[in-house]
Amino acid sequence: MTSSGFAHGQPDDAEGIQAHVAAIRSQVRRDLRGTSLPLLLLGTATVVGEAPQAVSQGWNTGVLFGGDWFTGLLLTAAFAVLWWAYRRRAVRDGVGRPAGFGAAAVLGLVLLSLGLLLLVFMGPFILFGAGLLMVASWQRNALLAWWAVLAGGLGVFEGFFGITNRLPASVWRTWEHPAIYLALGILTVLAGLAARLRENRGK
C-alpha cells in the first residue's frame, strides 16, 4: 500500500481534484481485490466441480447427491473462504468488510440440506447467482451484480436444460449439461482475470 499523496501538494482545480479522487479510488480497489477475487474463486470452484462430470460424460448428473450437489458444496466452501479472507483483511489491513459472503455461505448450507430439491432442479447456479447477488448488493459492487445476473441467469436457465434443449443436435448427450456449467465456470475465471488486470491498471 502506498500513499497517494492526496493531502500534500495537491492541486486546487476541479480537474486535478477529480484525478486525485480517481487515483485514491483505484488504490483502494487494488487493496481490496473486491471484484477479481470472488470471480476467480467461484469460477474455479465451478470448474473443479463440473470438469470431472463433463469429462466422464456426465456421471451423477441430475441425480440426487450427484453432480449439482458436489458443485454446490464447492461453491459454498468458496463463499466461506471468501468470508474468511475478507474478514482477515478487514482486521489486518483495516479496510473493507466481509459483508455478504457469510450470508451466501449460509444460503449454500441451506440449499445443500433443506433446499436440496431446489438445488437439483435449478442446478448449482442458483447458489452462484443468488449468493453473488447478495454479496454485490452488500458490497455495492455493480460488476459483481452484472455477473451474478448474467452467469447465474444462464446457469439457472440451463438447470431446466434451457440451453441443451436448444443445441442443434437431435440426440441429447449427457456431457452437454455439465459442459455448459463448465463453460460458465471458465468464463467466470476469465472475467476474474480481466477484473484483476483492471484493478492492477488502477481503473
Binding site: 493531502a7 480537474e15 479510488r25 483495516g94 468488510r97
Partner: protein, 122 residues
C-alpha cells in the same frame, strides 16, 4: 431531499444559475473528499488505513472525520482488536450521494468552463 437544506439534490437543480453552486463546502474540501472516496470504495476503513492512504496526521484526519460525522456523511465507531484500540469510519447512504453529487458538479463546472473558453476562441 438530502436532509441538508443548503445543498441541492442534483447538479441540475443547482445548474439554474452556475454549477459552482452545486458544490458542497463540507464535501468539497480536499481531505474530506479523499476520505469519502476511500469509503465509497471500501464502505468501511479504519483510522490507520485512512491516514496512510491520504498521507495525513492523526490530528488532521480526526478533525475531518468529526466534520463528516457531524454532517451525517459517515459514522465513526470505536472498538478493540486484541488490546489495540481501533477507530472505524463507515460511509452512510447520504455520504455516497454527496460524493456523487460533488463529482457531478465538478464535471458540470469543467464542461461549462470548456464551453466558455471554446466560445471565446482562446
Amino acid at each position: 431531499m438530502t436532509g441538508r437544506p443548503d445543498v441541492p439534490d442534483t447538479p441540475e437543480q443547482a445548474a439554474g444559475s452556475h454549477p459552482a453552486l452545486g458544490l458542497d463546502d463540507v464535501v468539497h474540501q480536499r481531505t474530506r473528499l479523499g476520505i469519502l472516496a476511500v469509503l465509497a470504495e471500501a464502505t468501511e476503513a479504519d483510522f490507520t488505513y485512512l491516514r496512510k492512504v491520504l498521507g495525513l496526521t492523526d490530528g488532521n484526519l480526526g478533525r475531518h472525520l468529526e466534520i463528516l460525522e457531524d454532517a451525517g456523511l459517515i459514522t465513526v465507531s470505536k472498538g478493540y482488536h486484541g488490546r489495540r484500540p481501533r477507530t472505524w469510519a463507515t460511509v452512510t447512504a447520504e455520504g455516497r450521494r454527496a460524493l456523487r453529487r460533488e463529482l457531478a458538479s465538478m464535471q458540470a463546472l469543467m464542461q461549462r468552463l470548456d464551453s466558455v473558453i471554446g466560445a471565446r476562441g482562446d
